[in-house]
Amino acid sequence: MDNKDNFIKRIVKTRGMGQVITVAFGLIPLCIVFGILNPIFFSGQNIGNLLRQIAPILIIGIGQSYVLITGNIDLSIGSVVGMSCMISATLMTKGVNPLTAIIITLITCLTIGIINGTLVSICKLPPFIATLGTMTIARGIAQIVNNNYNTDSIGEGARGFRDFFYYGKTIGLYNTVWIAIAIWVVFNFILSKTRTGRHIYAIGSNIEASKLSGVNISATTTKAYLVSSFCSCTVGLIICATSGMGTMDAGNSYEMYAVAASVIGGVSTLGGQGILLGTIIGASIWGVLQNGLQFAGAPVAIRNIVIGIIVVVSVLLDVVIRTGTFRFRKLSKP
């Protein structure tokens, strides 16, 4: 009994948990409302689909959370998703075997991550500008690889590829969901249990103090951007597997969905705060809204507006909560 109490207390006290619990309480009524509006919402099949819809958003959300916690932002996510989709599809239509295609795609995407990290931490460009640049570059590459056309079908040879990333199921869950779970587990571990993770929080909280404590700022920043481009790459492959071809507009405005998932889940855009458990909830709220509104017959435009409002409101709530009950004292010594 006592032990259990302590355990619960420890969980609640974990960094960022309060915010996560708050939004989790937002998620539940949302599901109930959609469940009442449409009984099919809770059917096994819809839940399966819902999870598969959430998975890619969770993955890019994890990448964006890493970058946001360092106090930066990655706007190139959507374009890297598109680039990953187009490069892998083009290669496979040219008969390259899927594994080789994946490796080449991954290398290209990670290069963008390294460029982002270098521009931000070594060249000291504002992250907004630096990643706006790579966003345009990556989208350009996505368009150039197949001469400004969507690719043909990636064909029968890629059957296994499509099953692995999208259509297949393992122990009752779609593989896409398993991939998201695996990525979450690994990156959550790194963020919460390793030195790299600690340094990611530290530089987001106070870059000067971290530098003076001997933290390698550029390496840490670059690692965060690498995680982000790795996640985007994975999502690009999932989209390629889903449609069976490369589409040039794949991943459009995904960077914003990634920000939405992170911020709704309590990751602060100012850096230093947030946990990946929150990103799960953020991505779920995003998914439930999309799925539920779709069922309710709301057009895409309305869904966009609703999600936009939710993002703004959750940031606002975040600010109110933080300044209301948890105001930081002044930090600099007078």
Partner: protein, 504 residues
């Protein structure tokens, strides 16, 4: 064989053409406390930042533990056994005490952080220092003085043999200062060499063995503390003698300027009543955390008031935001210069003109460059702010010069009441006198001066009337003629005893 653990020879460093250090040498022995002294901008912090790897020197040699060392980084300095407590707080607000203390040198086990081990060690250090906080408190929720103690704990936890403390006491309470001194003495006995920087010269006698004095980036002299005296040290620092540390001018008390009635604003401002007359300086004394800053903020309209009346020159005024106060003629030079006092990324010129824009713009809102230049030059001249150029960032000024900038930006403006919150913190002796003169000058002009200070000698030396606060209430008022340190302390510690509440 000497036992010098640091030998710095002919060190020079310039920032965009301005010499911050010019051929400076100094030595540190093991088992001694060396006070590094000098006016604001003398180059003390710069020299220590070179030693701890924050800046690289332009010229000169550095020998640590008898070995020549080339360029060092913060990491390399750590490995060499050098730890530094910087003049400005450097903490990650969102991380815990433990995480901050071990930042950059986390203990791991097979690639995984050993939080348990680090928490244990942190607890040990905190106990040793007598700091009553838990290792997993989020640092941002601690008071400034507690954060400062965490900085101390962090430096000590590295087991450094060379410890640099850049104004560690400027944000500490007297009890914490005592604890710090005990620790310093212990470290000294363990053979550490400590460089100690402070503008509170009275505290040197408790710990210091030797002093090294810099002036304008140049080495002046090194003296054994026992064989010198404060006046001698001061004359080396300033280059001339300072006759009166607390100049006092007598004025006739005139009519009432400001009256604050039943002011309430949160737990730290409870039922405050105070008056301020022409021709007097009122000092607000109290321990750190007594609600003095909060009171000034409430009067100035920064924080929300629950109730209370403010009467200026006989007329009740409403102050809901700082602009209301400024319009009415009440200005505040805040305590935390980097956070509340300055826009540190703007130039010195822009900082100075920010609260005075209305005086230098024409009726279309365009700034008159000539007027601006004149205003800035006057202010810089009045306070002798040491700067590279008025276009340099406020950030590039030395700590004390930043403080001068905060004060001077308000004084370029005509006001009825000027509130100073810890105006001399981190300021050298000579400039302190300048600031006192300035307050006296205001007093002679019939402007009301209210000032908060934690340094009792200064409160006693400058104010005409002293108000003492404790736990958000005014617990006493003293005329300076009847006041003494003991009396002030007695009022300052009139806590509402906890026993009463428990005994209910």
């Amino acid at each position: 064989m000497d036992n010098y653990i640091v030998k710095a020879k002919h060190i020079s460093k310039s920032f965009s053409g301005v010499m911050a250090l010019d051929d400076v040498s100094f030595n540190l022995k093991s088992g001694e406390v060396l006070a590094l002294l000098g006016e604001n901008g003398a180059g003390k912090s710069t020299l220590m930042k070179i030693l701890s790897g924050v800046y690289t020197r332009d010229e000169g040699e550095l020998e640590i533990f008898g070995k020549q060392v080339g360029n060092i980084t913060p990491k390399k300095a750590q490995e060499l056994g050098i730890a530094i407590i910087h003049q400005e707080l450097n903490m990650c607000a969102h991380l815990t005490v433990m995480e901050n203390i071990f930042l950059g040198r986390e203990i791991q086990n097979a690639g995984v952080l050993s939080n348990h081990e680090m928490t244990k060690q942190t607890q040990k250090i905190l106990d040793q220092l007598g700091i009553d906080i838990s290792p997993d408190t989020i640092v941002g929720t601690l008071s400034v003085s507690k954060q400062q103690m965490v900085e101390v704990a962090k430096a000590i936890s590295t087991n450094a043999k060379i410890l640099i403390m850049d104004e560690p006491t400027s944000a500490l309470t007297s009890r914490e200062i005592d604890e710090l001194f005990t620790i310093i003495r212990k470290l000294k006995n363990d053979g550490c060499g400590i460089v100690y920087i402070s503008h509170r010269l009275e505290e040197l006698k408790h710990i210091v063995d030797r002093v090294t004095i810099l002036r304008d980036g140049k080495y002046i002299t090194s003296l054994d503390f026992k064989e010198t005296s404060l006046p001698e040290i001061i004359s080396y620092m300033v280059g001339r003698e300072i006759k009166e540390k607390f100049p006092r001018v007598e004025c006739k008390r005139g009519k009432k300027i400001l009256e604050v009635k039943n002011l309430n604003a949160g737990p730290m401002v409870r039922d405050i009543n105070l008056d301020l007359y022409e021709g007097e300086i009122v000092g607000i004394a109290g321990l750190v955390g007594a609600g003095r800053t909060e009171t000034t903020r409430a009067i100035f309209g920064v924080d929300q008031k629950q109730s209370g009346e403010i009467i200026l020159d006989g007329k009740p005024i409403t102050i809901n935001k700082p602009m209301d106060a400024i319009r009415a003629g009440i200005v505040l030079a805040p305590e935390d210069r980097r956070k509340d006092g300055l826009c540190i990324r703007l130039s010195i010129r822009e900082n100075l003109t920010l609260p005075n824009l209305d005086r230098i713009i024409n009726k279309f809102g365009v700034v008159n460059k000539n007027k601006e230049k004149k205003l800035v030059e006057e202010a810089i001249d009045n306070f002798q702010i040491k700067l590279a150029s008025m276009e340099a960032n406020a950030d590039s000024l030395s700590g004390g010069n930043q403080q001068k900038l905060v004060v001077s930006k308000w004084l370029a403006r005509k006001s009825r009441v000027v509130i100073f919150d810890e105006p001399t913190r981190g300021i050298d002796v000579a400039v302190k006198v300048e600031i006192y003169n300035l307050m006296n000058h205001l007093k002679q002009q019939g402007i009301g001066v209210l000032f908060v200070s934690s340094e009792l000698p200064e409160i006693l030396g400058i104010s005409d009337r002293i108000i003492v606060m404790c736990e958000g209430r005014i617990t006493g008022e003293l005329n300076v003629k009847e006041a003494s340190q003991d009396k002030i302390l007695e009022y300052a510690t009139r806590f509402e005893t906890k026993k009463e509440a428990v005994g209910l």
